[in-house]
Point group: D2
Chain length 393, copies 4
């Protein structure tokens, strides 16, 4: 598990990280900053956090950036950071899709590594140009198709590569949501707004936002290229400028076939990303909403439920798994909630002010004492051969 | 969601965090450090990471601590940090159970807030003494019963408090694992070793390690005190010095009854912590291995499946939820894996060395181009009224 | 599968079946008659269907019994049927618990085999007396602990007998319902009425009604006798005359331990009967609400999900399984619904009256034509290399 | 529930049922006979059970048919039964697809109602001809699309009809199996043989066998006709004469769209028939492998899990549901297994021969006594305020 690994990683210095986009009101920028802290391999030191210079400045201050490294434009940031001795090693590009291309290119040309949100950009022309820029720069370019980072997805790919499914016949991928079942973009919702505006998101709506995740995952796990596809795009919500439902028949290399469904208008689906792969010898099922399990069904044998970190998992999955089997990955977040509530209590104590009452649900000495009293009572009851005992606290 | 919240939190300075325990080979110390980074509210600056001074020093160096703040004993650390102007605000105590008492007390008496792993300590006498120390110090003391930090557990408590279950009748709690079904402590496994050694863990084995979590959770959600209990403890594995299975009948305040089962010898249970609460008006089910859902069954109505962040959740749950409904909390970890793999690629590029091949599964420009070609082909096929199209990449 | 088996079974003559109890308004009697028809091994020919002679007569007429064989009392029925050349081979006793003893005894003494609903009776004295009557008669006596007839329960027992779990350590049994969470017996509900009336059901309420099922199942699967138990019975509903919640700690032979929870006041539980067995080598989970699966977890191996009729099942399960894996046993009932709707349509046609509109949802020629048109259109589209085709019907 | 209903139904005489096909070695014929018995509305009295006259005769004898009514051909049967005063009311046609047309037509023309297995026939021409024959005869024609008989499918249709989903946008249907993942038809398997032989099954393989079920179900629940479809058929197994995988994009009336996947080569799928319907106001999910539940997700509200027979179900579902909520429909089959084992014990006793040892797992007086002793011990322990008690048996 990489919690252990994180210690040896720490022998390397932390990388200096900058960000373009991700200012006030953004969602994915905050996610990028959080996950960059998780394994302690990055320091966030610079940003052009908004295309509005005032908001960029305010956002930088709020995040504790040095004002000198809070930039009003990505161009200025690329130039200035490239010129510093302690300039950023890498930039995260978390702007709407339509600006990925110029932003990423500016940093690559400035000799700075790039981590870019998906989809890559909005047109094939931009995509080819970005490939040339990456190749010319010799810099690392990482695209955050984040589902490829799930341990059991890595496990699935390792099993396919090892031939455990035999030749692949079928790939069924789906990614369904419901949050755009009504015309949310008219309500002022920022996330809905840019995702349904072709000027910012490109010509693809649901297709680019989540369809590409499903496609990428199918390709990532099987390694098969797509030979041809047949699609039916729909905009179910009246007046919506982009597709909100995607149905595709796929033909892959080597005779494999597949179907891909992506939708943002399917009530009851929060974030239902699901991948099923069938080969001549076995089938695999993975479901993002229950991501720590991989169902492996070898033909004519009892189906197995492989657990993250458990028996049957290999190195490619285990190196990216932080906690033991059965502990959901929310383990770390539940734990982090305790730490954050503790921080509030400590600040309040230091500042001699009342703490946020919500933070007071955090367990403390009272709960600790209750636990010990529970242990003592249990032992007393059991050793007494079965007597009712009242815990002391 | 607190990802948004984390920005406003950042207006407060980060707290300076120290740690006792958690050196090389430890599990929970690394977890504490990771989760303390998650919301960016702590800086880890000092440690007495091992009771073995050499190992303490090596562990500190590995984690990038200032050598001046890498201590050989917790007593030295408490004294020195209390004397510094920039001394730690708070210490994490992540040692085996038997030393929680002296360590926590030393820091409390030095005027330093304490975050302490559970169970509180090993005897009722220690527990009472710790309570006095907390009260005398006026400092914050937080016990990391981390499951109380799960959003849907907070939701459950809020619903009970709001009377949605009516008067509580039944509490069924269980926490089953299988990792101690054989005598693992004889194999040199460090985790099994101290947990089954009464000198380090106290008289309770499974009872203290996981039984207290189940008990705490039952109490946390219902708010009911325990009137009396009747227990049957067993050590199924020959020669084991502590219990490895716990069966308890419980009687709570106000006439509620309950059962608690904890086991570390139940094959097929990784970390099966489950809580069911039944009142006069409704029932609630929560299962740690699928923690983003809370089943709410009002009597004689259709049962509901409440999703973290979704309809029916309230402020107490939502303030500790970082990502949208349907995104499992592994979302952040999958994302963090991408960032960590990216760090490896960037270091390798900077150092002109080959990158770890495992890190090369991270998506890059090739996958980005494929995604854009997929979008273009899909749009072309659909707009063409149904034609097979080959994606360009 | 015994659908095949039923043909060879039919070489034996059908047994003549009588019934005591099960008249108008009864639930379990109708179930007994239905399941007796299922494999075509019984003919229902005689009954004392109610202790009220008028109702007995009306019930017999409704069920098409020969009036000569519709009896006003079980005593008369036992005497008369024993005297006939074509008398019943076997009687089903489906009266309230308090009369099982005299009824069963009367038929045994008349030389007639008995199938009796559970629990056996209401007191230990009656139970011993019934055992003597069975032994003295030399007749077959079968108790309908029906859950022992589920294929995957038979599979579980076969696996325990074969040593696949090793020595058994733990048995966790539970059976939870919610239908008695309020004082339903005061509303005139017949089922609730006799079950909560100690005069009819005996001193045990929930304990006798469903607790005995859980206990029987634990014993059936493991073969272990109970050494001792420790119980806490509760009547949560004010004024209820019998228990409605049962919590028990169990100690079995050979050092195994267990817990048993039965409740009829747990909102959200329809009929949650669940059995978990843990041995030194493996664990088994079975859940009545998803009964076609048995989770088998060998220690330190990938858990397996054994499916009724699928790989890994043996003869003892397969002989009582009627349909292929993946077909839920509701397959037969869904199919039967089609047949029953068809019967209504045919009667209506024969009688030249309108059929029950509800029965008209049954598929007919229109749906058949649609299916064939669907096939034709699909083949045309696919063979055309991908063209949109409109089905003809 | 129709168990109650079956009593009033019995006021009508039982229909006389004949069968064509379904002789030795057949699967679906035995299913038809069993389900026809279930509600006691049919008597099976005549058959042309095989196209091989010897086998027809032997099969009839085995099933206890009068030799006079065991026919060597369906033509002879239609003529003879039409001429009898006590001739059959209705015939079940359970032959391979290619003979449905002539068989059904012969009986319709003889004035006999028809219950026919699906698919209707093998070509559109036959299908139209059958429609004409039905219309000309004025007889009832029922097609056993048996999944339309599941209570929760009826519930789904009733909810769509009541407008609870609003205007339908999306229909996702799938039906996946794995039993034909290898060339089973070469092994002598009779089921695989005729289903993959175009001469017997028609030009459609998987498409006709299970694809039509998925299509029928989508149409049954939504009531929407199909405007056009776009298909991709595959035969993955080398040398297979018919399709074994079906991928279809669908466009329905009123702007709804859909996808349909049917496969018989997807390892790990036993009988995975799943239907998801999304409207403007809500979504519905149904899964045949867990058929007693219907997930209903109204947009922006907490998703509900409707249980067969429970709160939220209506008359159209409840009239075809035989047992209470939470009891899986296997309840009846488990119960029937007890009855069949009892029959074996009784026959063995009557014949003074040893019973089949497998049947001896059926519970009897010993288990009954154990249950009563368990009750007595539990009451004694609980009333004693908590003492360990040994059950007497």
């Amino acid at each position: 598990m990489s919690i252990e690994g994180s210690k040896s990683n720490s022998r390397q210095r932390r990388l200096r990280l900058g960000m373009v986009g991700g200012g006030q009101g953004a969602f994915i920028g905050a996610v990028h900053r959080l996950v960059a802290r998780m394994d302690d391999r990055y320091d966030f030191v610079a940003g052009a956090l908004s295309s509005d210079p005032e908001r960029a400045k305010a956002s930088g201050a709020e995040l504790g950036l040095d004002p000198d490294r809070t930039y009003g434009s990505y161009e200025a940031m690329a130039t200035a950071e490239a010129a510093r001795n302690d300039g950023i090693d890498v930039v995260s590009v978390v702007t709407p899709n339509n600006t990925h291309h110029p932003v990423a290119k500016a940093f690559l040309e400035a000799g700075i590594h790039v981590i870019c949100d998906k989809p890559l950009c909005t047109t094939l022309e931009e995509a080819h140009d970005m490939r040339h820029a990456v190749e010319a720069s010799g810099k690392v370019f990482v695209l955050t198709h984040n589902y490829t980072g799930f341990p059991m997805i890595r496990q699935a790919r390792a099993m396919v590569e090892a031939g455990e499914l035999g030749r692949i016949r079928l790939i069924q991928a789906e990614y369904a949501q419901d949050w755009l079942a009504t015309k949310l973009e008219d309500s002022g919702n920022k996330q809905a707004g840019w995702r349904t505006d072709p000027k910012q998101s490109g010509p693809a709506g649901c297709l680019g936002d989540i369809g590409t995740h499903a496609y990428n995952l199918a390709r990532f796990v099987t390694g098969l290229g797509c030979d041809s596809l047949m699609a039916d795009l729909t905009s179910f919500v009246d007046g919506r400028a982009v597709d909100d439902n995607v149905s595709i028949l796929l033909r892959f290399e080597d005779g494999a076939k597949g179907m891909l469904w992506a939708s943002q208008v399917a009530p009851g689906n929060d974030n239902n990303l699901r991948l099923r792969i069938y080969g001549e010898k076995a089938g695999l099922h993975w479901d993002q909403e229950n991501p720590n399990y991989l169902r492996f069904a070898p033909l004519n044998q009892v189906p197995q439920m492989i657990t993250r970190g458990g028996a049957g998992t290999g190195e490619m999955a285990n190196r990216v798994s932080r906690i033991p089997p059965g502990h959901t990955e929310g383990f770390l977040e539940g734990f982090a909630n305790i730490y954050s509530d503790a921080a509030e209590l400590i600040h309040a104590a230091n500042d001699k002010r009342p703490a946020d009452p919500a933070a007071c649900w955090v367990p403390g000495i009272k709960e600790g004492l209750e636990g010990i009293a529970f242990i003592a009572a249990t032992i007393e009851s059991s050793h007494g051969g079965g007597v009712w005992v009242k815990p002391e606290a």
